[in-house]
Protein backbone atom coordinates (compact mmCIF):
# COMPACT_ATOMS: atom_id res chain seq x y z
CA UNK A 1 0.00 0.00 0.00
CA UNK A 2 2.81 2.36 0.97
CA UNK A 3 4.55 1.92 -2.37
CA UNK A 4 1.25 2.46 -4.15
CA UNK A 5 0.67 5.71 -2.31
CA UNK A 6 4.15 6.90 -3.07
CA UNK A 7 3.76 6.07 -6.76
CA UNK A 8 0.44 7.92 -6.76
CA UNK A 9 2.01 10.98 -5.17
CA UNK A 10 4.86 10.99 -7.67
CA UNK A 11 2.43 10.62 -10.58
CA UNK A 12 0.25 13.44 -9.29
CA UNK A 13 3.29 15.68 -8.81
CA UNK A 14 4.36 14.92 -12.37
CA UNK A 15 0.89 15.74 -13.66
CA UNK A 16 0.80 19.03 -11.73
CA UNK A 17 4.27 20.06 -12.85
CA UNK A 18 3.76 18.65 -16.33
CA UNK A 19 3.26 21.88 -18.25
CA UNK A 20 6.53 23.26 -16.89
CA UNK A 21 8.72 20.30 -17.73
CA UNK A 22 11.04 20.88 -20.68
CA UNK A 23 9.46 19.34 -23.76
CA UNK A 24 10.90 21.47 -26.53
CA UNK A 25 8.54 22.06 -29.43
CA UNK A 26 6.35 19.17 -28.33
CA UNK A 27 4.75 21.03 -25.44
CA UNK A 28 1.53 22.02 -27.19
CA UNK A 29 1.02 18.57 -28.65
CA UNK A 30 1.74 16.74 -25.39
CA UNK A 31 -0.63 19.01 -23.51
CA UNK A 32 -3.28 18.46 -26.15
CA UNK A 33 -3.02 14.67 -25.80
CA UNK A 34 -3.01 14.86 -22.01
CA UNK A 35 -6.11 17.05 -21.94
CA UNK A 36 -7.91 14.58 -24.18
CA UNK A 37 -6.88 11.70 -21.93
CA UNK A 38 -8.04 13.48 -18.78
CA UNK A 39 -11.41 14.53 -20.20
CA UNK A 40 -12.17 11.16 -21.79
CA UNK A 41 -11.02 9.34 -18.64
CA UNK A 42 -13.49 11.43 -16.70
CA UNK A 43 -16.21 10.42 -19.17
CA UNK A 44 -15.12 6.78 -19.03
CA UNK A 45 -15.28 6.88 -15.25
CA UNK A 46 -18.80 8.27 -15.50
CA UNK A 47 -19.78 5.41 -17.80
CA UNK A 48 -18.26 2.80 -15.52
CA UNK A 49 -20.44 4.00 -12.64
CA UNK A 50 -23.30 2.35 -14.50
CA UNK A 51 -21.35 -0.32 -16.35
CA UNK A 52 -19.99 -1.99 -13.25
CA UNK A 53 -23.49 -2.55 -11.94
CA UNK A 54 -24.59 -4.38 -15.04
CA UNK A 55 -26.12 -1.33 -16.75
CA UNK A 56 -24.21 -1.58 -20.01
CA UNK A 57 -25.15 1.56 -21.91
CA UNK A 58 -24.34 2.07 -25.57
CA UNK A 59 -25.98 5.48 -25.46
CA UNK A 60 -23.55 7.61 -23.52
CA UNK A 61 -22.84 9.44 -26.74
CA UNK A 62 -26.33 10.89 -26.30
CA UNK A 63 -25.45 12.36 -22.90
CA UNK A 64 -22.15 13.65 -24.19
CA UNK A 65 -23.80 15.25 -27.21
CA UNK A 66 -26.60 16.77 -25.17
CA UNK A 67 -24.07 18.33 -22.82
CA UNK A 68 -21.82 19.68 -25.55
CA UNK A 69 -24.58 21.00 -27.79
CA UNK A 70 -26.64 22.55 -25.00
CA UNK A 71 -23.75 24.60 -23.70
CA UNK A 72 -22.57 25.57 -27.17
CA UNK A 73 -26.02 26.60 -28.39
CA UNK A 74 -26.79 28.58 -25.23
CA UNK A 75 -23.51 30.46 -25.56
CA UNK A 76 -23.81 31.08 -29.28
CA UNK A 77 -27.46 32.13 -29.27
CA UNK A 78 -27.91 33.84 -25.92
CA UNK A 79 -24.37 34.45 -24.71
CA UNK A 80 -25.11 32.40 -21.62
CA UNK A 81 -21.91 31.65 -19.75
CA UNK A 82 -20.85 27.97 -19.93
CA UNK A 83 -20.83 27.94 -16.11
CA UNK A 84 -24.60 28.29 -16.13
CA UNK A 85 -24.94 26.56 -19.48
CA UNK A 86 -23.13 23.56 -18.03
CA UNK A 87 -25.62 23.36 -15.18
CA UNK A 88 -28.52 23.55 -17.64
CA UNK A 89 -26.83 20.93 -19.84
CA UNK A 90 -26.31 18.53 -16.94
CA UNK A 91 -29.87 19.03 -15.70
CA UNK A 92 -31.34 18.48 -19.15
CA UNK A 93 -29.24 15.34 -19.65
CA UNK A 94 -30.27 13.95 -16.29
CA UNK A 95 -33.92 14.47 -17.19
CA UNK A 96 -33.46 12.66 -20.52
CA UNK A 97 -31.58 9.85 -18.77
CA UNK A 98 -34.41 9.47 -16.27
CA UNK A 99 -37.07 9.43 -18.96
CA UNK A 100 -35.30 6.43 -20.52
CA UNK A 101 -33.92 4.71 -17.45
CA UNK A 102 -37.04 4.71 -15.32
CA UNK A 103 -39.16 2.63 -17.67
CA UNK A 104 -36.15 0.41 -18.38
CA UNK A 105 -35.94 -0.40 -14.71
CA UNK A 106 -39.69 -0.58 -14.25
CA UNK A 107 -40.19 -2.97 -17.18
CA UNK A 108 -37.05 -5.02 -16.55
CA UNK A 109 -35.28 -4.09 -19.77
CA UNK A 110 -31.84 -5.53 -19.00
CA UNK A 111 -28.76 -7.01 -20.65
CA UNK A 112 -28.66 -6.97 -24.44
CA UNK A 113 -32.02 -5.23 -24.52
CA UNK A 114 -30.85 -2.40 -22.28
CA UNK A 115 -27.82 -1.98 -24.53
CA UNK A 116 -30.05 -1.79 -27.61
CA UNK A 117 -32.48 0.69 -26.04
CA UNK A 118 -29.62 2.98 -25.02
CA UNK A 119 -28.10 2.58 -28.47
CA UNK A 120 -31.41 3.78 -29.92
CA UNK A 121 -31.32 6.79 -27.59
CA UNK A 122 -27.83 7.65 -28.81
CA UNK A 123 -28.99 7.45 -32.41
CA UNK A 124 -32.08 9.56 -31.68
CA UNK A 125 -29.92 12.35 -30.27
CA UNK A 126 -27.47 12.15 -33.17
CA UNK A 127 -30.25 12.24 -35.76
CA UNK A 128 -32.06 15.07 -33.98
CA UNK A 129 -28.89 17.13 -34.09
CA UNK A 130 -28.60 16.44 -37.83
CA UNK A 131 -32.30 17.05 -38.49
CA UNK A 132 -32.35 20.41 -36.71
CA UNK A 133 -29.63 21.70 -39.01
CA UNK A 134 -30.98 25.23 -39.00
CA UNK A 135 -29.63 25.91 -35.55
CA UNK A 136 -27.29 22.96 -34.88
CA UNK A 137 -25.38 23.09 -38.13
CA UNK A 138 -26.43 19.51 -38.95
CA UNK A 139 -23.72 17.02 -39.77
CA UNK A 140 -21.27 19.82 -40.55
CA UNK A 141 -21.08 20.61 -36.86
CA UNK A 142 -20.97 23.92 -35.08
CA UNK A 143 -18.18 26.16 -33.86
CA UNK A 144 -18.23 27.80 -30.48
CA UNK A 145 -18.50 31.58 -30.90
CA UNK A 146 -15.10 32.92 -29.92
CA UNK A 147 -14.92 35.51 -27.17
CA UNK A 148 -12.72 38.51 -28.06
CA UNK A 149 -10.11 37.67 -25.43
CA UNK A 150 -9.34 35.16 -22.70
CA UNK A 151 -12.36 35.04 -20.49
CA UNK A 152 -13.20 33.06 -17.39
CA UNK A 153 -16.86 33.83 -17.97
CA UNK A 154 -16.77 32.41 -21.50
CA UNK A 155 -14.47 29.57 -20.37
CA UNK A 156 -12.17 30.32 -23.29
CA UNK A 157 -8.41 30.63 -23.01
CA UNK A 158 -5.66 30.84 -25.57
CA UNK A 159 -3.19 29.05 -23.31
CA UNK A 160 -3.60 25.27 -23.29
CA UNK A 161 -2.21 25.13 -19.74
CA UNK A 162 -5.40 26.58 -18.35
CA UNK A 163 -7.41 23.82 -19.94
CA UNK A 164 -4.84 21.34 -18.78
CA UNK A 165 -5.25 22.28 -15.14
CA UNK A 166 -9.00 22.50 -15.48
CA UNK A 167 -9.18 19.01 -16.92
CA UNK A 168 -6.82 17.74 -14.24
CA UNK A 169 -9.18 19.08 -11.58
CA UNK A 170 -12.15 17.60 -13.42
CA UNK A 171 -10.43 14.23 -13.62
CA UNK A 172 -9.54 14.26 -9.92
CA UNK A 173 -13.10 15.23 -9.08
CA UNK A 174 -14.31 12.30 -11.17
CA UNK A 175 -12.00 9.92 -9.30
CA UNK A 176 -13.20 11.29 -5.98
CA UNK A 177 -16.85 10.77 -6.94
CA UNK A 178 -16.08 7.28 -8.18
CA UNK A 179 -14.33 6.51 -4.92
CA UNK A 180 -17.19 7.89 -2.85
CA UNK A 181 -19.75 5.84 -4.76
CA UNK A 182 -17.56 2.80 -4.38
CA UNK A 183 -17.24 3.30 -0.64
CA UNK A 184 -20.75 4.42 0.07
CA UNK A 185 -23.28 2.34 1.83
CA UNK A 186 -24.74 1.46 -1.53
CA UNK A 187 -21.74 -0.54 -2.59
CA UNK A 188 -22.73 -4.01 -1.51
CA UNK A 189 -26.30 -3.38 -2.47
CA UNK A 190 -25.40 -2.29 -5.96
CA UNK A 191 -23.12 -5.22 -6.48
CA UNK A 192 -25.94 -7.50 -5.47
CA UNK A 193 -28.04 -5.84 -8.18
CA UNK A 194 -25.31 -6.49 -10.68
CA UNK A 195 -25.36 -10.15 -9.69
CA UNK A 196 -29.02 -10.82 -9.30
CA UNK A 197 -31.95 -8.43 -9.27
CA UNK A 198 -34.40 -10.62 -7.44
CA UNK A 199 -31.89 -11.49 -4.76
CA UNK A 200 -31.22 -7.81 -4.18
CA UNK A 201 -34.92 -7.04 -4.13
CA UNK A 202 -35.61 -9.81 -1.64
CA UNK A 203 -33.12 -8.45 0.87
CA UNK A 204 -35.08 -5.23 0.82
CA UNK A 205 -33.09 -3.03 -1.49
CA UNK A 206 -35.03 -0.63 -3.60
CA UNK A 207 -33.54 -1.63 -6.93
CA UNK A 208 -35.23 1.07 -8.97
CA UNK A 209 -34.12 3.89 -6.70
CA UNK A 210 -30.50 2.79 -6.74
CA UNK A 211 -30.50 2.35 -10.47
CA UNK A 212 -32.00 5.80 -10.96
CA UNK A 213 -29.47 7.40 -8.65
CA UNK A 214 -26.49 5.87 -10.39
CA UNK A 215 -27.93 6.61 -13.84
CA UNK A 216 -28.52 10.28 -12.97
CA UNK A 217 -25.00 10.63 -11.65
CA UNK A 218 -23.47 8.89 -14.65
CA UNK A 219 -25.50 10.90 -17.19
CA UNK A 220 -24.88 14.23 -15.45
CA UNK A 221 -21.13 13.66 -15.25
CA UNK A 222 -21.01 12.55 -18.88
CA UNK A 223 -22.79 15.77 -19.89
CA UNK A 224 -20.22 17.78 -17.93
CA UNK A 225 -17.51 15.86 -19.77
CA UNK A 226 -19.20 16.89 -23.02
CA UNK A 227 -19.23 20.52 -21.88
CA UNK A 228 -15.52 20.38 -21.03
CA UNK A 229 -14.70 18.79 -24.36
CA UNK A 230 -16.73 21.35 -26.32
CA UNK A 231 -15.11 24.26 -24.46
CA UNK A 232 -11.66 22.92 -25.20
CA UNK A 233 -12.11 21.91 -28.85
CA UNK A 234 -14.55 24.84 -29.50
CA UNK A 235 -16.30 22.73 -32.13
CA UNK A 236 -19.10 20.21 -31.85
CA UNK A 237 -20.09 17.56 -34.38
CA UNK A 238 -22.87 14.96 -34.20
CA UNK A 239 -20.64 12.09 -35.31
CA UNK A 240 -17.84 12.71 -32.82
CA UNK A 241 -20.13 13.59 -29.90
CA UNK A 242 -23.22 11.39 -30.33
CA UNK A 243 -24.20 8.08 -31.85
CA UNK A 244 -22.78 4.58 -31.68
CA UNK A 245 -19.20 5.34 -32.64
CA UNK A 246 -18.35 7.53 -29.68
CA UNK A 247 -20.44 5.41 -27.30
CA UNK A 248 -18.51 2.31 -28.31
CA UNK A 249 -15.19 4.13 -27.91
CA UNK A 250 -16.04 5.09 -24.33
CA UNK A 251 -17.06 1.54 -23.47
CA UNK A 252 -13.94 0.12 -25.14
CA UNK A 253 -11.62 2.28 -23.14
CA UNK A 254 -13.31 1.41 -19.86
CA UNK A 255 -13.53 -2.32 -20.47
CA UNK A 256 -9.96 -2.35 -21.73
CA UNK A 257 -8.72 -0.71 -18.55
CA UNK A 258 -11.06 -2.59 -16.26
CA UNK A 259 -14.32 -1.12 -15.02
CA UNK A 260 -14.10 -2.42 -11.47
CA UNK A 261 -11.12 -0.38 -10.38
CA UNK A 262 -10.65 3.31 -9.70
CA UNK A 263 -7.95 3.87 -12.29
CA UNK A 264 -9.20 1.29 -14.79
CA UNK A 265 -11.08 3.76 -17.01
CA UNK A 266 -8.09 6.12 -16.98
CA UNK A 267 -5.62 3.39 -17.91
CA UNK A 268 -7.87 2.20 -20.74
CA UNK A 269 -8.53 5.71 -22.03
CA UNK A 270 -4.86 6.67 -21.91
CA UNK A 271 -3.97 3.53 -23.83
CA UNK A 272 -6.62 3.89 -26.53
CA UNK A 273 -5.90 7.59 -27.05
CA UNK A 274 -2.15 7.03 -27.08
CA UNK A 275 -2.64 4.18 -29.53
CA UNK A 276 -4.89 6.30 -31.74
CA UNK A 277 -2.45 9.21 -31.69
CA UNK A 278 0.51 6.95 -32.37
CA UNK A 279 -1.19 5.35 -35.38
CA UNK A 280 -2.27 8.77 -36.61
CA UNK A 281 1.28 10.09 -36.41
CA UNK A 282 2.74 6.99 -38.07
CA UNK A 283 0.35 6.99 -41.00
CA UNK A 284 -0.34 10.70 -41.22
CA UNK A 285 -2.20 11.43 -44.42
CA UNK A 286 -0.93 8.34 -46.16
CA UNK A 287 -2.97 5.15 -46.23
CA UNK A 288 -6.19 6.74 -45.04
CA UNK A 289 -8.17 4.34 -42.91
CA UNK A 290 -5.15 2.16 -42.04
CA UNK A 291 -4.71 3.65 -38.57
CA UNK A 292 -8.34 2.98 -37.68
CA UNK A 293 -8.12 -0.50 -39.20
CA UNK A 294 -5.26 -1.45 -36.90
CA UNK A 295 -7.06 0.22 -34.01
CA UNK A 296 -10.15 -1.93 -34.63
CA UNK A 297 -8.08 -5.11 -34.95
CA UNK A 298 -6.21 -4.40 -31.72
CA UNK A 299 -9.48 -3.77 -29.91
CA UNK A 300 -10.79 -7.19 -30.95
CA UNK A 301 -7.54 -8.81 -29.88
CA UNK A 302 -7.60 -7.02 -26.51
CA UNK A 303 -11.18 -8.03 -25.80
CA UNK A 304 -10.44 -11.65 -26.66
CA UNK A 305 -7.19 -11.96 -24.75
CA UNK A 306 -7.77 -9.58 -21.84
CA UNK A 307 -11.43 -10.22 -21.04
CA UNK A 308 -11.17 -8.74 -17.53
CA UNK A 309 -9.40 -5.61 -18.78
CA UNK A 310 -5.77 -4.76 -18.16
CA UNK A 311 -6.22 -4.19 -14.45
CA UNK A 312 -8.43 -7.24 -13.96
CA UNK A 313 -6.15 -9.50 -15.98
CA UNK A 314 -3.13 -8.38 -13.98
CA UNK A 315 -5.02 -9.07 -10.76
CA UNK A 316 -6.07 -12.52 -12.00
CA UNK A 317 -2.50 -13.30 -13.00
CA UNK A 318 -1.27 -12.29 -9.54
CA UNK A 319 -3.86 -14.45 -7.77
CA UNK A 320 -3.04 -17.37 -10.05
CA UNK A 321 0.60 -17.06 -9.13
CA UNK A 322 -0.20 -16.63 -5.45
CA UNK A 323 -2.74 -19.42 -5.07
CA UNK A 324 -0.58 -22.56 -5.49
CA UNK A 325 1.79 -21.22 -2.88
CA UNK A 326 -1.05 -20.63 -0.46
CA UNK A 327 -2.48 -24.11 -1.06
CA UNK A 328 0.87 -25.74 -0.48
CA UNK A 329 1.19 -23.77 2.74
CA UNK A 330 -2.23 -24.94 3.88
CA UNK A 331 -1.39 -28.59 3.32
CA UNK A 332 1.86 -28.67 5.25
Amino acid sequence: MRAGRLAGAVLLALLVLGPFLPMGGMRQYVLHVLIQILVWSFIGGAWSLMGRFGLVSLGHGAFLGLGAYTVTLLWNAYGLTPWLGGVVAAALTIVVALVVAYPCSRFQVVGHYFALVTLAVGEVVRLLIIAERNWTGGSLGLSLRASPSDSLLAMQFADKRVFYYASLVLWLAGLWIWYRVDRSMAREAMEAIGEDETAAASVGIHVTRFKMGITMLSAGLTAIGGVAYAQYITYVNPDTLAGIGVSLRIVFAVVLGGMYSLLGPTVGTALTIALGEYLRVVFGLRLIGMAETIYGLLLIVFIIFLPAGIYGSLRDAVTRLARPARLAGGLS
Binding site: V56, F107, Q108, H112, A120, L127, A131, I288, T293, I303
Partner: protein, 288 residues
Protein backbone atom coordinates in the same frame (compact mmCIF):
# COMPACT_ATOMS: atom_id res chain seq x y z
CA UNK B 1 -50.05 19.89 -47.43
CA UNK B 2 -48.65 16.84 -49.17
CA UNK B 3 -50.72 15.30 -51.91
CA UNK B 4 -52.17 11.90 -51.02
CA UNK B 5 -50.54 10.30 -54.02
CA UNK B 6 -47.10 11.05 -52.60
CA UNK B 7 -48.07 9.53 -49.28
CA UNK B 8 -49.34 6.44 -51.07
CA UNK B 9 -46.13 6.26 -53.06
CA UNK B 10 -44.12 6.56 -49.84
CA UNK B 11 -46.23 3.83 -48.26
CA UNK B 12 -45.64 1.48 -51.18
CA UNK B 13 -41.92 2.26 -51.14
CA UNK B 14 -41.92 1.55 -47.41
CA UNK B 15 -43.35 -1.90 -48.04
CA UNK B 16 -40.79 -2.57 -50.75
CA UNK B 17 -37.95 -1.56 -48.42
CA UNK B 18 -39.32 -3.73 -45.62
CA UNK B 19 -38.52 -6.92 -47.53
CA UNK B 20 -34.73 -6.53 -47.35
CA UNK B 21 -34.89 -5.16 -43.81
CA UNK B 22 -36.91 -8.17 -42.68
CA UNK B 23 -34.38 -10.46 -44.35
CA UNK B 24 -31.53 -8.77 -42.48
CA UNK B 25 -33.39 -8.75 -39.19
CA UNK B 26 -34.09 -12.46 -39.57
CA UNK B 27 -30.45 -13.25 -40.21
CA UNK B 28 -29.44 -11.33 -37.11
CA UNK B 29 -32.32 -12.81 -35.16
CA UNK B 30 -31.25 -16.33 -36.10
CA UNK B 31 -27.74 -15.74 -34.79
CA UNK B 32 -28.92 -13.90 -31.68
CA UNK B 33 -31.44 -16.65 -30.90
CA UNK B 34 -28.98 -19.50 -31.29
CA UNK B 35 -25.63 -18.09 -30.17
CA UNK B 36 -27.10 -15.41 -27.85
CA UNK B 37 -24.73 -12.72 -29.10
CA UNK B 38 -25.67 -9.57 -31.01
CA UNK B 39 -23.38 -9.05 -33.96
CA UNK B 40 -23.03 -5.27 -33.81
CA UNK B 41 -21.12 -5.44 -37.09
CA UNK B 42 -23.75 -7.48 -38.95
CA UNK B 43 -24.71 -4.77 -41.44
CA UNK B 44 -21.04 -3.98 -41.97
CA UNK B 45 -20.70 -7.50 -43.35
CA UNK B 46 -23.53 -6.55 -45.72
CA UNK B 47 -21.47 -3.53 -46.73
CA UNK B 48 -18.50 -5.75 -47.64
CA UNK B 49 -20.78 -7.96 -49.76
CA UNK B 50 -22.19 -4.86 -51.50
CA UNK B 51 -18.67 -3.91 -52.55
CA UNK B 52 -18.14 -7.41 -53.91
CA UNK B 53 -21.24 -7.15 -56.09
CA UNK B 54 -20.22 -3.67 -57.20
CA UNK B 55 -16.79 -4.84 -58.33
CA UNK B 56 -18.00 -8.07 -59.91
CA UNK B 57 -20.71 -6.30 -61.92
CA UNK B 58 -19.23 -2.91 -62.70
CA UNK B 59 -15.54 -3.83 -63.05
CA UNK B 60 -15.46 -7.47 -64.08
CA UNK B 61 -18.74 -7.41 -65.98
CA UNK B 62 -20.35 -10.42 -64.29
CA UNK B 63 -24.09 -10.82 -64.71
CA UNK B 64 -25.92 -9.57 -61.66
CA UNK B 65 -27.44 -12.91 -60.67
CA UNK B 66 -24.01 -14.55 -60.63
CA UNK B 67 -22.55 -11.70 -58.60
CA UNK B 68 -25.49 -12.12 -56.23
CA UNK B 69 -24.62 -15.79 -55.74
CA UNK B 70 -21.01 -14.77 -55.16
CA UNK B 71 -22.20 -12.30 -52.55
CA UNK B 72 -24.25 -15.03 -50.87
CA UNK B 73 -21.17 -17.26 -50.73
CA UNK B 74 -18.95 -14.47 -49.41
CA UNK B 75 -21.55 -13.69 -46.74
CA UNK B 76 -21.57 -17.32 -45.61
CA UNK B 77 -17.77 -17.37 -45.47
CA UNK B 78 -17.69 -14.12 -43.52
CA UNK B 79 -20.27 -15.56 -41.12
CA UNK B 80 -18.11 -18.64 -40.54
CA UNK B 81 -15.02 -16.48 -40.12
CA UNK B 82 -16.64 -14.16 -37.61
CA UNK B 83 -17.85 -17.09 -35.56
CA UNK B 84 -14.57 -18.98 -35.59
CA UNK B 85 -12.21 -16.04 -35.07
CA UNK B 86 -14.17 -13.66 -32.87
CA UNK B 87 -17.21 -15.31 -31.32
CA UNK B 88 -15.76 -18.70 -30.34
CA UNK B 89 -13.10 -17.25 -28.00
CA UNK B 90 -15.63 -15.03 -26.20
CA UNK B 91 -18.60 -17.39 -25.90
CA UNK B 92 -18.22 -17.50 -22.13
CA UNK B 93 -17.31 -13.81 -21.65
CA UNK B 94 -19.40 -11.07 -20.08
CA UNK B 95 -22.10 -9.62 -22.38
CA UNK B 96 -20.32 -6.27 -22.57
CA UNK B 97 -17.20 -7.97 -23.92
CA UNK B 98 -19.30 -9.79 -26.49
CA UNK B 99 -20.82 -6.52 -27.66
CA UNK B 100 -17.40 -4.92 -27.80
CA UNK B 101 -15.68 -7.68 -29.74
CA UNK B 102 -18.17 -7.36 -32.58
CA UNK B 103 -18.06 -3.58 -32.09
CA UNK B 104 -14.31 -3.77 -32.73
CA UNK B 105 -15.12 -5.65 -35.92
CA UNK B 106 -17.37 -2.74 -36.88
CA UNK B 107 -14.47 -0.27 -36.54
CA UNK B 108 -12.22 -2.65 -38.40
CA UNK B 109 -14.55 -3.22 -41.34
CA UNK B 110 -15.49 0.45 -41.71
CA UNK B 111 -11.92 1.67 -41.69
CA UNK B 112 -10.52 -1.17 -43.75
CA UNK B 113 -13.17 -0.43 -46.37
CA UNK B 114 -12.15 3.23 -46.23
CA UNK B 115 -8.54 2.20 -46.72
CA UNK B 116 -9.26 -0.13 -49.62
CA UNK B 117 -12.01 1.70 -51.44
CA UNK B 118 -12.03 5.30 -50.09
CA UNK B 119 -15.19 6.99 -48.88
CA UNK B 120 -16.55 7.53 -52.40
CA UNK B 121 -20.11 6.35 -52.94
CA UNK B 122 -20.20 3.54 -55.48
CA UNK B 123 -23.32 2.71 -57.43
CA UNK B 124 -24.38 -0.28 -59.47
CA UNK B 125 -26.39 1.11 -62.35
CA UNK B 126 -29.08 -1.07 -63.81
CA UNK B 127 -31.06 -0.23 -66.93
CA UNK B 128 -34.36 -1.21 -65.42
CA UNK B 129 -37.54 0.77 -65.93
CA UNK B 130 -39.48 2.89 -63.48
CA UNK B 131 -43.05 1.66 -63.35
CA UNK B 132 -45.95 4.02 -63.34
CA UNK B 133 -48.95 2.65 -61.50
CA UNK B 134 -51.97 4.90 -61.05
CA UNK B 135 -49.86 8.05 -61.04
CA UNK B 136 -47.24 6.60 -58.66
CA UNK B 137 -43.69 6.00 -59.73
CA UNK B 138 -42.27 2.73 -58.49
CA UNK B 139 -38.82 1.38 -59.05
CA UNK B 140 -38.80 -1.99 -60.74
CA UNK B 141 -35.51 -2.77 -59.02
CA UNK B 142 -37.11 -2.35 -55.62
CA UNK B 143 -39.97 -4.57 -56.62
CA UNK B 144 -37.54 -7.30 -57.65
CA UNK B 145 -35.54 -6.90 -54.45
CA UNK B 146 -38.75 -7.19 -52.44
CA UNK B 147 -39.87 -10.35 -54.21
CA UNK B 148 -36.46 -12.00 -53.85
CA UNK B 149 -36.40 -11.12 -50.15
CA UNK B 150 -39.78 -12.75 -49.68
CA UNK B 151 -38.64 -15.86 -51.53
CA UNK B 152 -35.48 -16.03 -49.42
CA UNK B 153 -37.52 -15.76 -46.23
CA UNK B 154 -39.81 -18.50 -47.46
CA UNK B 155 -36.74 -20.62 -48.18
CA UNK B 156 -35.45 -20.01 -44.67
CA UNK B 157 -38.82 -20.95 -43.22
CA UNK B 158 -38.85 -24.24 -45.11
CA UNK B 159 -35.27 -24.91 -44.06
CA UNK B 160 -36.00 -24.31 -40.37
CA UNK B 161 -39.21 -26.36 -40.43
CA UNK B 162 -38.45 -29.21 -42.76
CA UNK B 163 -34.78 -30.11 -42.41
CA UNK B 164 -33.15 -31.95 -39.56
CA UNK B 165 -30.45 -29.36 -38.91
CA UNK B 166 -33.03 -26.58 -39.28
CA UNK B 167 -35.15 -28.13 -36.54
CA UNK B 168 -32.01 -28.55 -34.44
CA UNK B 169 -31.28 -24.84 -34.87
CA UNK B 170 -34.73 -23.98 -33.56
CA UNK B 171 -34.25 -26.44 -30.71
CA UNK B 172 -30.94 -24.86 -29.70
CA UNK B 173 -32.53 -21.42 -29.58
CA UNK B 174 -35.09 -22.84 -27.15
CA UNK B 175 -32.76 -24.84 -24.92
CA UNK B 176 -29.10 -24.94 -25.78
CA UNK B 177 -28.07 -27.35 -23.04
CA UNK B 178 -30.85 -29.86 -23.74
CA UNK B 179 -29.74 -29.96 -27.36
CA UNK B 180 -26.20 -30.82 -26.31
CA UNK B 181 -27.72 -33.72 -24.35
CA UNK B 182 -29.27 -34.94 -27.61
CA UNK B 183 -25.77 -35.33 -29.06
CA UNK B 184 -25.60 -32.11 -31.05
CA UNK B 185 -22.20 -30.46 -30.94
CA UNK B 186 -23.08 -26.82 -30.10
CA UNK B 187 -20.13 -25.52 -32.12
CA UNK B 188 -21.43 -27.31 -35.22
CA UNK B 189 -24.91 -25.82 -34.81
CA UNK B 190 -23.37 -22.37 -34.21
CA UNK B 191 -21.28 -22.66 -37.35
CA UNK B 192 -24.23 -23.67 -39.53
CA UNK B 193 -26.28 -20.82 -38.04
CA UNK B 194 -23.52 -18.26 -38.55
CA UNK B 195 -23.04 -19.38 -42.15
CA UNK B 196 -26.77 -19.05 -42.86
CA UNK B 197 -26.94 -15.69 -41.10
CA UNK B 198 -23.90 -14.57 -43.12
CA UNK B 199 -25.42 -15.84 -46.37
CA UNK B 200 -28.53 -13.79 -45.68
CA UNK B 201 -26.32 -10.75 -45.15
CA UNK B 202 -24.70 -11.55 -48.50
CA UNK B 203 -28.02 -11.85 -50.29
CA UNK B 204 -29.26 -8.65 -48.65
CA UNK B 205 -26.06 -6.95 -49.79
CA UNK B 206 -26.75 -7.90 -53.39
CA UNK B 207 -30.34 -6.65 -53.09
CA UNK B 208 -29.28 -3.39 -51.42
CA UNK B 209 -26.46 -2.45 -53.76
CA UNK B 210 -28.86 -2.24 -56.69
CA UNK B 211 -30.99 0.27 -54.74
CA UNK B 212 -28.45 2.34 -52.78
CA UNK B 213 -24.86 3.47 -53.27
CA UNK B 214 -22.34 1.66 -51.13
CA UNK B 215 -19.78 3.41 -48.96
CA UNK B 216 -17.76 2.33 -45.88
CA UNK B 217 -20.32 3.74 -43.45
CA UNK B 218 -23.30 2.02 -44.97
CA UNK B 219 -23.55 -0.17 -41.86
CA UNK B 220 -23.88 2.87 -39.62
CA UNK B 221 -26.97 3.94 -41.57
CA UNK B 222 -28.78 0.58 -41.57
CA UNK B 223 -27.24 -1.20 -38.56
CA UNK B 224 -29.23 0.29 -35.68
CA UNK B 225 -32.45 -0.04 -37.67
CA UNK B 226 -31.74 -3.72 -38.25
CA UNK B 227 -31.09 -4.42 -34.55
CA UNK B 228 -34.33 -2.74 -33.66
CA UNK B 229 -36.41 -4.65 -36.18
CA UNK B 230 -34.72 -7.85 -35.02
CA UNK B 231 -35.70 -7.23 -31.40
CA UNK B 232 -39.18 -5.90 -32.22
CA UNK B 233 -39.90 -8.98 -34.28
CA UNK B 234 -39.34 -11.21 -31.29
CA UNK B 235 -36.85 -14.03 -31.05
CA UNK B 236 -37.41 -16.78 -33.57
CA UNK B 237 -40.60 -15.19 -34.85
CA UNK B 238 -40.50 -14.86 -38.63
CA UNK B 239 -43.91 -13.27 -39.03
CA UNK B 240 -42.99 -10.87 -36.24
CA UNK B 241 -39.80 -9.86 -38.02
CA UNK B 242 -41.71 -9.10 -41.17
CA UNK B 243 -44.39 -7.08 -39.36
CA UNK B 244 -41.71 -5.15 -37.47
CA UNK B 245 -39.85 -4.45 -40.71
CA UNK B 246 -43.03 -3.16 -42.36
CA UNK B 247 -43.90 -0.93 -39.38
CA UNK B 248 -40.40 0.55 -39.15
CA UNK B 249 -39.90 1.10 -42.86
CA UNK B 250 -43.36 2.67 -43.21
CA UNK B 251 -42.53 5.12 -40.43
CA UNK B 252 -39.22 5.94 -42.07
CA UNK B 253 -40.63 6.17 -45.57
CA UNK B 254 -43.73 8.24 -44.75
CA UNK B 255 -41.91 10.25 -42.07
CA UNK B 256 -39.22 10.98 -44.64
CA UNK B 257 -41.76 12.43 -47.09
CA UNK B 258 -43.82 14.35 -44.53
CA UNK B 259 -41.01 15.77 -42.36
CA UNK B 260 -37.43 14.76 -43.18
CA UNK B 261 -35.38 11.62 -43.53
CA UNK B 262 -33.73 12.07 -40.14
CA UNK B 263 -37.02 12.73 -38.38
CA UNK B 264 -38.42 9.57 -39.96
CA UNK B 265 -35.62 7.61 -38.29
CA UNK B 266 -36.02 9.51 -35.03
CA UNK B 267 -39.71 8.61 -34.87
CA UNK B 268 -38.95 4.98 -35.74
CA UNK B 269 -36.34 4.74 -32.98
CA UNK B 270 -38.60 6.37 -30.44
CA UNK B 271 -41.31 3.88 -31.38
CA UNK B 272 -38.75 1.13 -30.82
CA UNK B 273 -37.84 2.45 -27.36
CA UNK B 274 -41.47 2.73 -26.33
CA UNK B 275 -42.30 -0.72 -27.70
CA UNK B 276 -39.46 -2.21 -25.66
CA UNK B 277 -41.31 -1.06 -22.56
CA UNK B 278 -44.76 -2.11 -23.69
CA UNK B 279 -44.02 -5.27 -25.64
CA UNK B 280 -40.55 -6.49 -24.66
CA UNK B 281 -41.08 -9.91 -26.23
CA UNK B 282 -41.74 -8.40 -29.66
CA UNK B 283 -44.59 -6.68 -31.45
CA UNK B 284 -46.73 -9.78 -31.70
CA UNK B 285 -46.16 -11.08 -28.17
CA UNK B 286 -48.19 -9.83 -25.26
CA UNK B 287 -46.36 -9.19 -22.00
CA UNK B 288 -46.52 -12.51 -20.14
Amino acid sequence: MIEPIFLLEAAVNGILLSGVLALLALGLNLIFGVVDIVWIAYVDLVMVCMYLVYFLVMVYGWPLWLAGLGSLALGALLGLGVHLLIITPILGSAPVNQLLATGGLLFFLQSFATFLWTTDHKTVRLALPILEVGGMFLSFVRLIAFVISLLAMLGLWVFLRRTYIGTAIRAVSQDREAMALMGANPQYVYLVTSAIGGAMAGLAGALLVIQYSVHPFFGAAFGPLTFMICVLGGLGNMVGAFVAAVVMSEIISIGGVVISTEMGYVIAFVVFIVMMFVRPGGLLVRRG
